[in-house]
Symmetry: C2
Subunit: 310 residues, 2 copies
């Protein structure tokens, strides 16, 4: 029951000698997802032993090159690997035109279909769902249409307390209903509340990815109580003016959002290539939100499963 995020790239518009551009690989229950796909993302996945042929869903935040120029190579490599099953790509509607132009020149040998899902970047809405998770858009505040993505594990089915089966001589039908959250109504009319009969096996986990964005309090409302928040911190707070002008955030602002949202942990990234040492940005954020960590290439952030006791 994994919930792991691998940082493939942590730089902003320009890469550096040791930082690739934005891309995060997510493993939830051994299903792999990709958010953004900066140049070199496929090499970074290879280096991190992420079997990217298993990725069926790619979420793109916006149409700046540092978030998508790795798509061309990745899509081509998937074709070389003889992929035949659909690949779903989510993003702002203009991305479809970009992909179509790409396929026009480079897709003639593709044996798989790219299914494009245009998302409304101004809306907080579930855009993907499977048996384990939902993915919601998180409207962001950038120079071009842009949204983040919030990955939420679904509330797991209840586990029955085994000793209760014996005590109340529960039938299969009753067990099914209790697992769905119902109370038990006994023959004598007394009601046994659900929580005495069943328990939730674990707390659903969540990961929010918010880049690129200027400071926006609305983000905090949407990512409220997330286990892990990635929020861009392109600049230190002394460059607040530049951050505002370019539609980016400072490390302090990222920490403010994390604090307001009451998340458990914050990752900052999308660092401007002007910085050689990210520790001042880390310290700045930690002064507001101590549970802040730097995004570094190949770092893995695992959200541990918190199992409930019976």
């Amino acid at each position: 029951m994994n919930f792991k995020i691998t940082i493939l790239g942590s730089s902003s518009a320009s890469p550096t000698t040791n930082r690739f551009q934005t891309a995060h690989a997510i493993n939830i229950h051994e299903r792999f997802f990709l958010i953004d796909c900066g140049e070199g993302a496929q090499i970074q996945m290879m280096r991190n032993n992420i079997n990217f042929t298993g990725i069926n869903h790619i979420f793109i935040t916006h149409l700046h090159g540092d978030h998508i120029f790795g798509l061309y190579g990745l899509l081509s490599t998937l074709s070389l690997y003889n992929r035949t099953h659909e690949l779903h790509i989510y993003g702002f509607r203009m991305l479809e035109y970009v992909l179509n132009d790409f396929l026009k020149y480079f897709g003639s040998e593709f044996k798989y279909e790219i299914v494009f899902h245009a998302v409304n970047v101004r809306q907080n809405k579930v855009i993907y769902e499977d048996k384990n998770i939902t993915v919601e858009t998180v409207p962001l505040k950038h120079r071009v249409p842009c949204c983040g993505y919030l990955f939420k594990e679904k509330v797991p089915k209840l586990n029955i307390r085994k000793e209760m089966i014996e005590r109340y001589k529960l039938s299969l039908a009753e067990i099914t209903r209790i697992k769905e959250g119902c109370d038990l109504i006994c023959e004598n009319g007394s009601i046994i509340p659900n929580e005495k009969l069943a328990y939730s096996p674990y707390t659903p986990r969540s990961y929010a990815f918010c880049s690129d964005t200027g400071y926006s309090k609305k983000i905090a409302d949407i990512v409220k109580n997330a286990d892990l928040l990635y929020h861009e911190a392109t600049f230190a707070h002394e460059s607040l003016k530049t951050a505002k002008q370019t539609g980016h955030s400072t490390a302090m602002q990222a920490a403010e959002i994390a604090k307001q949202a009451n998340v458990k942990k914050l990752i900052i990234g999308h660092f401007s290539s002007r910085y050689k040492d990210m520790n001042p940005l880390l310290n700045e954020a930690r002064s507001i939100f101590p549970e802040t960590y730097l995004a570094n290439e190949n770092d893995v952030f695992e959200i541990k499963l918190e199992r409930f006791k019976k």
Copy 2:
């Protein structure tokens, strides 16, 4: 008076954990050129301290993604670095459409012009010239229109033998003519041959880049006597059939071309990702052409200047 080739990527269609896709940076007399631009080429140039803002001419062999998908990021980074002067790109005519589509979506903030030069990939012709070098196309034999490039240093101007100035009381006009290769006609009608009066300061150097291509003897004629030949060797000779089917060469075939062309040194590269150890390919090539070397990321091949003695 540098003449250096830096290997930025040595893999073929798919990158690997430690091999990027094709790109070679060339430094001739401190002018930088780029041949092909596989994904990650800009990062590789940063790692090799190659100031790619100084590159004004990029030569693209053909329109397969592993040779051009790094262009998007590189062109964007040049824009971020506030480039204002023209960038010249040479390649098969369809590349212009690809670039135009790219600029349509991602070029709105570019302050520099991309000047595209369509090359006839079926012709061996000088397509670029400056005061130091010429660049010729080398028709290759691939699945799509494709040509290599031959970089040739120009024949340097002759140096005058200083003692001859005194001996023959040479005038400035005579010195100029002698430097242009003329003999000296003395007042008494005797002729002093040019080689007694002047000497060539160094041997012009040359580098030929031939990828992607199947085996083609015509290549050997064009790259005859080159100091350095890069010839693709995607496969070992045991996979000759696959090489033929895919329009590629084996290590043995690359060595055959080097031998026929009488080049001084051969680099093989564009290795299939199926190979983890390239030494069998190297040994295979060396059995035919001993002066063969493997292309490895960040390797620098320098063609030393051979100065003539007076």
